[in-house]
Symmetry: C2
Subunit: 130 residues, 2 copies
Amino acid sequence: MRIGELAELAGTSTRTLRYYESRGLLSSTRAPNGYRTYDEDDLRLLRQIRTLQDFGFELEETRPFVECLRAGHPAGDACPASLAVYRRKLAELDGLIGRLADVRDQVARQLADAERAAGPEAVPRCESTP
Amino acid sequence: MRIGELAELAGTSTRTLRYYESRGLLSSTRAPNGYRTYDEDDLRLLRQIRTLQDFGFELEETRPFVECLRAGHPAGDACPASLAVYRRKLAELDGLIGRLADVRDQVARQLADAERAAGPEAVPRCESTP
DNA sequence: CTATTCCCTGACGCGGGCGTCAAGGCAAGG
DNA sequence: CCTTGCCTTGACGCCCGCGTCAGGGAATAG
């Protein structure tokens, strides 16, 4: 298949596919006229990349998964390097979520304090003053 | 005080202060030699900005707080516009944390599945095989 | 006088993942 | 032949909060 079809199948753009190729993540054979040609394996590879991207993985972090698939494994996460990325990402996410939760609570407290200071009359709880 | 001193007091850089000024967030008077001059009010204003920045607020989102302080209020969050930003940010944080938690769980599941598929022998639970 | 240390403005760089335009080639239909 | 629609490479733009360099002036100590 050609680049436009692959892009549509993966729900992305041709620009993105060329970008992945420039990063060495996606490969393509060329038709005599210079057009990129892809097969089902490329689609699976691309889907793997997109899934991880949707998880918030950086492109570089998808590389072990890609290489794992290229090595012939049925799943991109069948290799130790991919598992290592999973684990790093889990730790990263836990840290990030924890920090965000802290921030959330601090903001909530700031808001509550500021609302109290501003006077409770400005914060109608229900239809108490119709 | 001059820009270097203010920067150090606020734990930031002179570049940052000039940047804030270019964004219209921080103001300064000028000494006859052209040097920026600041007072305690500017320091408080700057601290307000930095606190919000540390929370992950974008610079533009600190503007209501800055204007509130400039209007003479003792706290930057004493104005309705600031409270509105707090509320938006809370909702944003809740949404983000929720999505990240979802991703975290999906990654954890992927990891667990991949570990099972790879074979449990590669995942020593304790010192079971010394 | 010089050396040091502050300060000034202006401008480019960076990271990440593309979007988007430019300028053209190739294939197929009418 | 022309048009349409796909494809090619190359290159600039964007976001955002600065870092960092270039090329100067100003104040102070020795």
